[in-house]
């Protein structure tokens, strides 16, 4: 009986222990200095580079230009109008006998409040394909003129004022052309290859400059477009025929300003430059290969640091793209960019206070890990949102703040 009681007490104690038991994992503080992982830094100097020039590619930017600004000359801007309206119906729907077209307006938008109707710019029309938004450049139009295009003359302008508040706020300027003269061509259904191309330009080359929004700027409201205002008779049984006043919108499917960078490869030795408007791109070479760091190293950060000289450019975005293969040439002006990109490990950054820092972490880490990947240089080119008229110049040989790559890594 005593053993039975003893067993009951023991059972109770063990049950209490079970309920108090808990799994826990508290790290024990111990000396782990013998572990091999070590953080270290490496600074790479001897950064070399050069600049080359290609025709500017500005088909994807948010503005369109005509005229001259700084060193850049924009002789004309082209538009391609969609075959279908915003309601999904084509131009041929306007040929319905129940429809009477009142007016056809080609509209452009600008944030320049000083634009007036006598700006002198003309709109031209050509029922043919004439440009590629992403590929055409000034080299494709060496002696171009609008002489064979239909001249639709100058625009009427109006300013849009936001009156929802007591303080009237300027919103935008609308440039509008009445183009009913070409509506028959626009609605032509017999030409299966019809491309509705428009262009704007100054008949006389002067110092006037026009900046307007491109189709990349907004989601439609400020896009270049054609608005067709018309009346349509509505046939309803046993009733008279009411007439509706309606409007169709045809947006652009491509727009491009042609820019001539002029005569200007003005890059000094020891300097590299990046410019969207001038078409400057730079190749930078850094002394880094798969043996630069110990095997199995992991890069925590790797930054290419470039310093500008006396002229600084703030908020200028630059993209870095590793090259797929090198090129042995002494040329620095090309009709097409000959430096093929790798298509991976790219990054981008912005100049701040005259200093450009961009991460090379993915690229350099991949060089360590992938046997077939070689470092044959990297291309620096202007970001799409960078100021078209600015040129960012970097001094590679600066005594005070030389170009370098700073790497923080952990070796196994």
């Amino acid at each position: 009986m005593y053993f039975f009681r003893f067993s009951l007490i023991l059972t109770g104690l063990i049950v209490i222990s079970v309920f108090n038991w808990q799994c826990a994992e508290e790290p024990i503080v111990a000396d782990l200095s013998h572990l091999s992982q070590t953080a270290d830094t490496l600074t790479l100097h001897s950064i070399t580079g050069f600049t080359y020039q290609v025709p500017p590619e500005i088909g994807s930017i948010k503005r369109l230009y005509v005229g001259t600004k700084g060193e850049l000359y924009f002789p004309f801007t082209f538009f391609k109008i969609h075959s279908y309206g915003s309601d999904g119906t084509g131009w041929d729907s306007l040929k319905d006998t129940a429809i009477t077209i009142d007016s056809v307006l080609f509209k452009l938008y600008s944030n320049d409040s000083l634009i007036s109707s006598d700006i002198g710019i003309h709109l031209y029309f050509l029922p043919d394909s004439f440009f590629s938004e992403l590929e055409s450049n000034y080299i494709d139009y060496p002696s171009f003129s609008f002489s064979e295009w239909v001249d639709l003359y100058g625009p009427s302008t109006s300013q849009v004022i936001d009156t929802t508040d007591t303080a009237e706020i300027y919103t935008e300027t609308v440039l509008s052309w009445e183009i009913s003269a070409v509506v028959e061509t626009l609605t032509d259904t017999t030409d299966s290859n019809l491309v509705r191309t428009f262009g704007i330009g100054f008949p006389e080359m002067d110092s006037t400059f026009l900046e307007i929004y491109s189709r990349e700027y907004s989601s439609g409201s400020q896009d270049p477009k054609i608005e067709v205002y018309y009346r349509q008779e509505m046939y309803v049984a046993s009733e008279s025929s009411p007439i509706d006043t309606l409007m169709k919108t045809f947006y652009t499917v491509g727009d491009l300003s042609i820019v001539n960078p002029g005569e200007g490869y003005d890059v000094s030795p020891g300097e590299i430059a990046v410019s969207q408007g001038k078409g400057f791109r730079s190749i930078v070479n850094i002394p880094f290969d798969s043996l630069t760091l110990p095997e199995f190293s992991l890069i925590r950060s790797a930054k290419l640091i470039l310093k500008q000289g006396s002229d600084t450019t703030n908020a200028f975005g630059i993209a870095m793209q590793p090259l797929g293969e090198g090129l042995d040439t002494s040329e620095n002006i090309f009709d097409n960019d000959p430096y093929q990109e790798l298509g991976a490990y790219s990054s981008s950054s912005t100049i701040v206070d005259g200093k450009f820092e961009i991460s090379l972490k993915s690229f350099l880490q991949s060089i360590l890990m992938v046997d077939t990947l070689k470092n044959v240089g990297m291309k620096l080119s202007s970001g799409l949102s960078s100021d078209l008229f600015e040129t960012a110049r970097f001094d590679l040989l600066s005594d005070t703040d030389p170009a370098r790559v700073e790497i923080l890594y952990v070796a196994p």
């Binding site: 799994c23 994992e25 992938v370």
Partner: protein, 420 residues
């Protein structure tokens, strides 16, 4: 202990064994039977399926660190055949290798004008599992022999971390073990009340390890795994992308563990239901110190010596009283772990290290139910482990508690049924 060599060895495979801190030679399960000693299994009348579970809690008092975990202790099937022979199969952990170490005592690092907070961590989980295939045979009156073929397998995962500004750079590795031991058991009865037990273990195929070292990664989302999952608590993705990393390096390290052991036990029934046991065991790892095998604490257990004394109050199989169905066990033991190590800086072997010692006691009980002898066992162990200050890592005194719970279900096999 888990960080030394191939880890901390499992001491007991069942709560019955643990309740009297037995080395497994002398009877602790039932009268004349030890679940860990095949040479005693002929005494069983029924086939037994035993499952046990255990929890461990370790408390490093001086460091104010408490750790605990629970896991399956063993699963075992014993089939006695006509009380003359027996077969058994069992699976149980052989060593435990859970480790969590942290080193915060580093000066900040200055890198390109930024001050970086530095810490190191080492985490390890897993261990070696043993699959035991046993056979027992009665030779002649009072003499039984048994043998256990012990197949060792299993793996551990290591995470070596260097934390830069709290974000770990993790190098993961994996060790997969394989080996084969054999243990021989002899049981000789000198009289009805006095038995002697011998055990000898030898390595048939020393333990090899396949060491796989994976490419390190920035564990930005801090989930320990190299994945490409965006962490909400720790925003960001691991770097580099898991698919971009080269294949892991893999090497086979041979002969890292080659154990041999010798044990002796005596048991004496002081009355019909009270047994006193005495056991001693020494085991030694004959493998050369595996300098190629990464060991976080740079030491291994080279020799382990254990002595234990235990007693058991056995149930009365003939009684119908509930109180007579209880088994009560208790015992004391002393363990001594003799270490050696390797100084990776000086490239010399470290010997004559002060041993780790452990003294502990256990208490437990079992309850037998149904006619076939089903049994529930519970035991509790408390021990004080002393880590010498001369070791590289001075852990001080460690309080160890273990709680073990098991159940054995019995059934009658190999009986000819009467033809109707």
């Amino acid at each position: 202990m888990n960080g030394y060599g191939i880890g901390n060895f499992q001491s007991w495979q069942s709560p019955s064994q643990g309740g009297m801190v037995s080395l497994g030679l002398t009877p602790s399960f039932q009268n004349g039977v030890s679940l860990s000693n095949p040479s005693t299994w002929q005494q069983l009348k029924y086939t037994h399926l035993s499952i046990s579970y255990y929890g461990l809690e370790s408390n490093l008092k001086e460091m104010n660190v408490k750790n605990g975990f629970s896991t399956l202790q063993s699963g075992q099937l014993i089939i006695p055949i006509k009380q003359s022979s027996a077969l058994g199969i069992g699976i149980h952990p052989y060593t435990y290798q859970q480790v969590a170490l942290l080193d915060t005592i580093y000066p900040d690092m200055l890198a390109f004008g930024d001050t970086l907070d530095l810490m190191r961590g080492y985490y390890q989980a897993g261990g070696i599992i043993a699959l035991d295939l046993s056979v027992a045979l009665a030779l002649f009156e009072g003499n039984q022999i048994g043998a256990t073929f012990q197949l060792l397998f299993g793996s551990t995962r290591q995470h070596e971390k260097l934390l830069l500004n709290q974000v770990p750079i993790t190098e993961t590795s994996r060790m997969s073990y394989s080996g084969l031991n054999i243990e021989f058991f002899i049981n000789r009865s000198f009289s009805k009340n006095l038995d002697m037990y011998l055990q000898m273990g030898i390595p048939v195929d020393p333990v090899d390890v396949v060491y796989t070292d994976f490419y390190p990664f920035d564990d930005t989302n801090k989930n320990t795994y190299h994945d490409y999952t965006y962490g909400l608590l720790n925003p960001g993705y691991d770097f580099p992308h898991p698919q971009d990393t080269p294949n892991a390096k893999q090497v086979r390290i041979k002969n890292i563990y080659q154990p041999a052991s010798l044990a002796i036990g005596l048991s004496r029934l002081l009355s019909e239901r009270f047994q006193l046991s005495l056991e001693m065991k020494t085991s030694k790892d004959f493998a050369n110190y595996p300098i190629d095998l990464p060991m976080i604490l740079n030491h291994r257990i080279n020799i382990k010596q254990v002595a234990s004394i235990g007693c058991i109050w056995l149930p009365n199989n003939l009684s119908v009283l509930i109180s007579d169905k209880f088994t009560i066990r208790s015992g004391l033991n002393f363990k001594k772990y003799i270490m050696d190590g390797w100084d990776s800086v000086q490239k010399v072997k470290i010997q004559n290290v002060d041993p780790i010692t452990e003294f502990g006691g256990a208490i437990g009980f079992g309850y037998k139910f149904k006619a076939v002898g089903n049994q529930v066992d519970i035991s509790y162990y408390y021990g004080i482990r002393h880590h010498p200050s001369t070791l590289r890592h001075d852990f001080g005194d460690e309080r160890v508690q273990q709680l073990q719970v098991g159940i054995s279900l019995a059934d009658l096999w190999f009986v000819k049924r009467r033809q109707r």
